[in-house]
Amino acid sequence: MLEVEGLAAEREERLLFSGLSVSVSAGEGLHIIGENGAGKTTLLRILCGLTLQSAGKISWCGQAVSKFREEYCSDLLYLGHKNANKTELNCRENLRLALGVLPVSDDAISDALHDTGLGLISHLPTRFLSQGQQRRLSLARLLLTKSKLWILDEPYVALDYKAIEWLDSHLERHLSNQGMLILTSHQKLTMSSEIRVLNLGEQYA
């Protein structure tokens, strides 16, 4: 369970939010909304430990994240605005490198690429892929990871309606498998699972 207590963040001496307390337990999803510049990405990066908060405490399974960074990171999957694909490598190599840390078989990677709709172009260097296809490749990691907590920053950007349906079904499956999900999106979510909404603009500004 992820617990956040009294979190505050500032950027260039401008207070983005303060006194933010929220918790996400197994099987729960949290949808963070807010206007442009409200601090959604900053909040996600703080939750991952990439950015330092100016106040507040984050704990994972009852332990402070800052003290148990490695344990926390092994349960965490973060996909940011950047796709983290290497443009000179093909889809398969990219996925293999990204997941180099996990014992993933070639077949599993093929299945994931096929499922993502990249099966036929998996041999192409990713610089030839469209924005949406690059995003799909980035999201293919969701199929292979065993992480419990997924933190996704604008995962729907650049996806076509089919890919959105595909992503929805995987997020739903993750939640029904007692996974946890925190995401930002400006679109209205089309998932059938129930997702709590956290509005950064209103009570925390």
Binding site: C48, G49, L50, T51, L52, E70, E71, C73, S74, L76, Y78, G80, H81, K82, N83, A84, N85, K86, T87, E88, L89, E93, L97, A98, G100, V101
Partner: protein
Amino acid sequence: MHKMLWALFNRDMTLFMQRKQDVVTVLGFFLIAVALFPLGISSDPDLLRTIAPGAIWIAALFSTVLALDRLFSEDLDDGTLEQQMLMPVPISLMLLVRLVAHWVITSLPIVLLAPLMGLQFGLAFNEIAILTLSLLIGTPILVLLGAIGAALTVGLKSSGGLVTLLLLPLYVPVLILGTSAVSSTMNGVDVTAHFSLLGAALIVSLVLSPFAVATALKITLD
């Protein structure tokens, strides 16, 4: 954990195989810089023998700085750096692996080419051996110290010049120890002290540099 670090090492090797031109550029720079000394100064064999250690060491030093430019910048731009910072291993250990890979890719070829450059300047066999050994111990120090500069400036637009300015003061002692080891050999002086000091510097930078680089990168990514 060692599996993950090994995978990370392999990652850098795979990427290197995809863009050998980067390394060829660095090696080409090294070869040309060394070759320019006889053309620019004199073809007098005695003089060339005297300046050989300095010429080769300075060329190796600037090649290292040149190669540092690519160490983090691309990974920062495409988002792989933040993924690496989230790997479930200590960040400093992760960085140490990446620095070792960087050294193997960009500096080891220079160390291996150094004997050839020594021959070009007419160095004797034992002098070439000392030169190569000093580079073998010295270039990792240059990479480890240089990575701190690279990490501090990675987010900036034109970081190349700034890195050089930041690093040169730190590089001076290594340069002096490396070149004077070879010159001392030429004059028949014992060089144990030089290598003790170089070895000590290598151990200190191996231990401290990954932590400094980790801190610098955290500031950059914050």
